[in-house]
Symmetry: C2
Subunit: 545 residues, 2 copies
Amino acid sequence: MRTSSFFSKASGFLRSHASSSKLLVLLSLSSAGSFVAYSDSQAETSTPNLDLAQKDPKKKRIVVLGTGWAGTSFLKDLDISSCDVQVVSPRNYFAFTPLLPSVTCGTVEARSIVEPVRNIVKKRNGEIRFWEAECLKIDAANNRVMCRSNIENLVGNREFSLEYDYLVVAVGAQVNTFNTPGVKENCYFLKEVEDAQKIRAGVIDCFEKAVLPGLSEEERRTNLHFVIVGGGPTGVEFAAELHDFFQEDLVKLYPMVKDLVKITMVQSGDHILNMFDERISSFAERKFQRDGIEVLTGCRVLDVSEKAITMKNKAKGETSSVPHGLVVWSTGVGPRPLVRDFMEQIGQEDISAIFKAADKDNSGTLTVKEFQDVIEDIVIRYPQVDLYLKSKHLMDVTDLLRDPEGRERDEVDIEGFKLALSHVDSQMKSLPATAQVAAQQGAYLSHCFNRMEQCAENPEGPRRFRSTGRHAFRPFQYKHFGQFAPLGGEQAAAELPGDWVSMGHSTQWLWYSVYASKQVSWRTRVLVVSDWTRRFIFGRDSSRI
Amino acid sequence: MRTSSFFSKASGFLRSHASSSKLLVLLSLSSAGSFVAYSDSQAETSTPNLDLAQKDPKKKRIVVLGTGWAGTSFLKDLDISSCDVQVVSPRNYFAFTPLLPSVTCGTVEARSIVEPVRNIVKKRNGEIRFWEAECLKIDAANNRVMCRSNIENLVGNREFSLEYDYLVVAVGAQVNTFNTPGVKENCYFLKEVEDAQKIRAGVIDCFEKAVLPGLSEEERRTNLHFVIVGGGPTGVEFAAELHDFFQEDLVKLYPMVKDLVKITMVQSGDHILNMFDERISSFAERKFQRDGIEVLTGCRVLDVSEKAITMKNKAKGETSSVPHGLVVWSTGVGPRPLVRDFMEQIGQEDISAIFKAADKDNSGTLTVKEFQDVIEDIVIRYPQVDLYLKSKHLMDVTDLLRDPEGRERDEVDIEGFKLALSHVDSQMKSLPATAQVAAQQGAYLSHCFNRMEQCAENPEGPRRFRSTGRHAFRPFQYKHFGQFAPLGGEQAAAELPGDWVSMGHSTQWLWYSVYASKQVSWRTRVLVVSDWTRRFIFGRDSSRI
């Protein structure tokens, strides 16, 4: 779960708007903490060259950064007849990330969950150009992105820049280590396809290490101690996969260590899967207990060294250090430096701009009425603010206006206004960092592009802060279709819309059918299903490649 | 093709024999230039520990180094009821190496051609123990091997040593760069599974590099110039795979560079596939010409830099330097340092020992009769010597005894004897470095072990040099079942026993059926066949993972 500063995004929106007459919308794409924005350029003075020249100057130049769920879903739904689209991503493929935990233990092969971007793009008649490169910097003032190819031994210049009328930032997030010492150096992660492949080799390594001659039993135990930090869906699914891999396959090949394997899950909260319904949480905890997976709740990791992990039990205040064979860090994600830098560029004058727009009489203070108006607009743009206010039992937005001692105020100056908003901002969680959210956001964005002219004439969005009139589009609203948590042993838990909860073997079969149907191509669908079949017949492969 | 010094092995045989009463046989395993030897120990004073303790002191302690074709074939056929077997290899899997060229372009997945050693070993009721480690040194004098695990983050001691009564050295060979500058740093190889995976990513990289914005056409051409050094079966098959990958799959995804791709094959000999029948060679050359694959024969590579490859045309004496995007080096293999070191240890007194055994009257010189006797024994042990003598039209072994001016001699002293043998040794090629040879050698060796007692009573081998009597076993004789050379476009060439040659599409289908049937397990068989099917339906994947 990622807490993102939605006001800095709101500010980005305002700032972009200020510098551009064609601004559309800016929204946070939370899948894997990604971030999507688009704004148009003022100047259209690009220097054409062989590749970057706009084919038809009348077309909107769109640059898409990233080929994850949001970027791909955007590309798939976009009507490209009036767009000139360029896509930049360091990965030339789309990965079906919800199956990454399955890749860690070979239940599904890495190759089965990826689809080349060019294959997706090809179907659009070549109107979309793709560059395998990393965006290093967004120059928002000049509507330009600076990119560099990371491929080694490149003959020619590896850096280039692209100009855009509209920029879609869908670069995803990066692993969040919370600056815990030693995590970057000594932990495995589960964010990219390569991460999953590394874990797979790492798990096999642990078993091969543990059976080497001349080790003491204690050393064997240490080599086979798998620690998972983070009790979210990813961590839980990996723990379940690992347990199955061992029980179903590895125990036959490494029978001598069958009593030495231990899986420990470290969770800072009081329960694992705490974003799920409580029934699912406790079902998962009971299942893990039966499976012998130790769950340490209320524990915060202080340090990870090559050999040991140090954590603090928050309730008892005790610090303990446990030797480990392999640690997987799966505590959530944070924004990438590129996005942080971009948000800083566009997010300088945020709150003062909102304040200025709200202060209709230019009195330097907002009355309760003025404050209510601006919050209502914010609530339309960010429906989650409403949820937050409700969850905090702030029935009336004027509650936000109370002074630090809790007394009601009639008016608030800019400092008080900043305080009130930062109160919301610091507490509010953005949408969950799931594929589902990102895919919907990408589709929403392409929908906006496809109806751009129509909505320019008949705007349907909320009021603009810096000028008169309304925004062209309704803001994005997330529709939750439910969420799965596979728990191993052919069991899964699912939270379905309407407070429905489903758990057990039948849910695992539901999981199989949903995941098969959601595949991005027929090729990956066939591969994933045949991987599952292959696993049922032959088990998982334990070759260390 | 590898030229191996068979006399140093012969000498090893003698030396081992000298220090041991139970010596069996030593032979060269040429698959991928591997080397198999076994000798027994004099002392059986092992220090038992938890893992290494011999379970039954009456059993023969066999240590096998390597899990390639020879090692695996040995293990599969060995009667383990009277053996205590330990296997040491840095790879915990067996790889079906003849399909490696298919892995480079994704025709077959890497995972589909590997089988865990523990799976193969498991079927033997756990009597065979496997350690994933590298053998660093063979201490032949003490019948001990020093091993080290290469796994990172190992808790406990990573080094250990094993004692053996019999040692089977089947570690395979390593790539031979002929000390050409820059090859190690700037070339891809095609020896291990990881090599094939690297080439696959490298090929995709080249295409992604070539389409980046801002490159000149010349730079694009350079990035897409694939050079293959070595016109043997591996190089030829890779060139064919690469050509198919481009023509069948990549051209659809990278249509903008379809005229810029170039494949060049550099061969030092006058023809590619020159170990095959001439009809196959010229068929392959004609096919490559039609496909636009340039074949540079009679060229020797002098240097490979990051950007260019420098070669010399042997006939014209001209040196030229060509820019490249990727170079695959596939010129053959040489012995590993471990094996070289072992051969030095056991191969000091070789020729003088043979001389001493042959010099029955202790005169210090060999008469023609004495020389003939020893050569006849050598010919039984090394049938290829006979072939060599015939190929050189040395109808009578006494031809070897001629002095440097070509005059016949009646007697020869030790210096002359050394010269005569080194003459044979330097010219003679050992068996081809193929899977077929190695597998037969492994099977032969296990057959020897299985009939050890029987043959000890009724020895069937050639005369011993250092003592009286005969060796227990007939030497290994290779039976050639033919060889394939896939040429791309669903065509292959095959050399079959009895001077039969088959070429074209039907041969490719023969290739499919032979390779499917030769798979080491049902799992890999199903995977390989489903990979082929998947390729027919969906093409090869171009995701860069």
